[in-house]
Amino acid sequence: MITAAVPERENYLNNAYGIKSWLLTRDHKRIGLLYLFTVTLFFFLGGAFATMIRIELLTPQGNFVSSETYNKLFTMHGVAMIFFFLIPAIPATLGNFFLPMMIGARDLAFPRINLLSWYLLVIGGLFSLFAMLAGGVDTGWTFYTPYSTTYSNSWVIATALGIFISGFSSILTGLNFIVTVHRMRAPGMTWMRMPLFVWSHYATALIQVLGTPVVAVTIILLFCERVFHIGIFDPTLGGDPVLFQHMFWFYSHPAVYIMILPAMGIVSELVSVFSRKPVFGYQFVAYASMAIAVLGFLVWGHHLFVSTQSVYAALVFSFLSYFVAIPSAIKVFNWTATLYKGSISFATPMLYAFGFIGLFTIGGLTGLFVAALGFDVHVTDTYFVVAHFHYIMVGGTIMAYLGGLHYWWPKITGRMYPEGWAKLSALIIFLGFNLTFFPQFILGYLGMPRRYHVYPDEFQVLHVLSTAGASVLAVGYLMPMIYFIWSLRYGKVASANPWGATGLEWQTPSPPPVHNFDVTPIVTHDAYDYSTVIGQEVEVG
């Protein structure tokens, strides 16, 4: 039904060769791949730390590694996963690659700045990596003072500087996206015709631009405090340690929406394409992204419920936390409603989308649990919270990320992935995931504190289940690694639009030419108008 791309055609991959053509590229697509490579490395690094955490927790006595090592393991796990994997994961790889294409632009507004952001991530990553190899950090990914400033003997500064530098990577990416969306849309691409993926990246970019600078300045103060001991966060010198927590979470709560919004964008695309219907309530879903981005800034204090924050502040933050739930609920319901009377395909990306919706629902609802003050007092700093955020970040974001990778793989590489293996791994990941993290809800409610590597015997059964799940999960994650690489060579050659999708990125050959489109497209339809592609030949190339 669709013409196959001619392999010899010049595209962004074969227009130049050699390391230099990659390291100095300004093509957003190549930069996207550089990011893909980088964040994958960090994912497996973080995964290796997770593996060691899970092995350690098999026995209650804590006899696999020492306390010190264990503390470093979960810290470096959190740092690698959050700052160097999940925050850049979707925006900087798939966002970088597809956002310009989806709005019909030749590139981002500032290609050189885009390349610079990748270098910043790499430099920041190297700093933190150096810290990890040189001896590690043991403060937890939250760097609470005064432990991190006065008491810890580990590589706090190098790690924090790494995060500081990579923060600028995030800021510049966000800035680039906002300008691109405002100024680079193809003729006819009005705001209400933008794919939801673009909307959600726009909302994400707002958070990156408004939130990240605050964590940057917080890290500077942490640095000053640790090096010069000036008292900003040190109670013996008149400082307030809780102030650090406010500043940290002012960024880090919105940052969780940096991690989830792009994933929601992907899911919107997937649900639509594989039901062949526009996303139900398109406008509501688009505005919900913006609402999440804005409201997300008002709730950070829900991480401080037992921190000696004032009772009144706690009430306000708890109250406001519930407002974020509404736009999230709107999205979940609209995705579900999209299926109604659709034409639903069970291709792998769609399986991941289903997985996302289900696990995000559980993760999100347990977010509402912990936003309830009386409940949170009991479970904060226990495995309940650990389970909550892994449900959203691993069950949600990574599912969507994998879904997106499968969905766009043909466009990125010009090759199809093997469908059978992909379905199998999606299933393994789903099962392994639940086995790993569901027991942690129970553990948490029973009172198992987080960041403990020696724990009372009665928690062992659940920990063993969790570790078993993690091994299944590891297998599930390794499979795509293998078959994606395999497909580069042996995969079926992909056509321009294998899924019958409407996005502009599918109106150009796979892999796309250097400047994305041979002719700047003119947009005349809403996003997701499938009557324009189904039953009609797509002429490309």
Binding site: M1, P235, F333, A372, G374, V377
Partner: protein
């Protein structure tokens, strides 16, 4: 392994409160999770793609529907908020008749001081059925006092006092955890809470050989640190008398008024210049570095013992 519980023990008055809230939250969560999962399963199978070229009809979105599924969840969340907040409010305000105890946290142990002078490390003995109020201080980093069976937790932040209270309802031995990451042996900063029958508790109290009550230790410190040189009982000289100070409203030199509670007295000892009593000169030296957090607590207890006033819990009255 042995034991394999799925639900924690209920051993304080808060435990049922929190658990009821949990049941509600669970019910909501199960309802929506089942709803979403079932809808997806049903719709995906019912409307699966039957032919490659099929193009479904596009229904129009419904504003009514959007409103329904925003407003209903919103209503539910407001119940969650109110319920959670009311439980929390109870947890935040100890009753006036609560039995006071002091806790000093440090890397990596819990030190507990009873009024009668008993000191314990990583153990806390309390009588059944009596509300207990802990005033907690940290000597180094942030720790968090957590007893899962009581469903309570509160951070202990260096540089200030924090308060936690509970009323045990079941005799037994319960886990005490440090829940805030505090360094290498964070997972070793654990202990036990023993809830005893009041009679056993009395026995336990008289069992040890305390060096004297907390207030008596404070009195000794008061002389050792030479506080008594300035602060005379009759209030003569350049210094205010501390008799009956605790719980009183103090007039400050800058015009403000403040109730003399534990944080105020702590501040008066460690940062005397911060709040000057009206009519006096800021000549009191700071005792920071000269007296430990335990010492400050003993001094406070001594000053409390000077007063005719009963201990003011601060509970009940909102603000002033």
């Amino acid at each position: 392994m042995g034991k394999f519980p799925l639900f924690p023990e209920q051993a304080s008055t808060f435990a049922p409160d929190v658990d009821h809230l949990t049941y509600f939250l669970l019910a909501v969560a199960v309802f929506f999770t089942v709803l979403i999962f079932c809808s997806i399963f049903y719709l995906a199978i019912r409307y699966r793609r039957r032919s490659d070229g099929e193009l479904p009809h596009v229904p129009h979105g419904g504003l009514a529907l959007e409103i329904v599924w925003s407003v209903i969840p919103f209503g539910i969340t407001m119940v969650m908020f109110t319920w959670g907040a009311s439980v929390f409010f109870n947890e935040s305000r100890p009753p006036n008749n609560a039995m006071p105890l002091y806790v000093v946290a440090k890397q990596w142990m819990w030190k507990i001081e009873h009024m009668e002078g008993q000191r314990e490390i990583n153990e806390l003995h309390i009588p059944l059925g009596r509300a207990v109020r802990l005033t907690m201080a940290s000597e180094d980093v942030i720790h968090s006092f957590y007893v899962p069976a009581f469903r309570v937790k509160q951070d202990v932040v260096p540089g200030k006092y924090s308060t936690i209270w509970f009323q045990p309802t079941k005799p037994g031995k319960y886990h005490l955890f440090c829940a805030e990451f505090c360094g290498t042996r964070h997972s070793g900063m654990i202990g036990w809470v023993y809830v005893m029958q009041p009679r056993d508790y009395q026995n336990w109290l008289s069992g040890g050989a305390p060096a004297g009550t907390l207030a008596e230790s404070g009195e000794k410190l008061f002389t050792d640190l030479a506080c008594s040189n300035c602060h005379k009982a009759d209030g003569t000289g350049r210094c205010p008398s501390l008799e009956g100070l605790f719980g009183k409203t103090v007039q400050l030199a800058n015009g403000a008024k403040i109730v003399a509670d534990e944080p105020y007295i702590r501040e008066s000892i460690l940062h005397p210049a911060a709040k000057i009593v009206a009519g006096y000169l800021p000549v009191m030296p700071t005792f920071q570095g000269l007296v430990t957090e335990d010492g400050v607590l003993q001094l406070i207890e001594y000053i409390k013992s000077l007063g005719p006033k009963p201990i003011v819990g601060g509970g009940g009255a909102l603000g002033k």
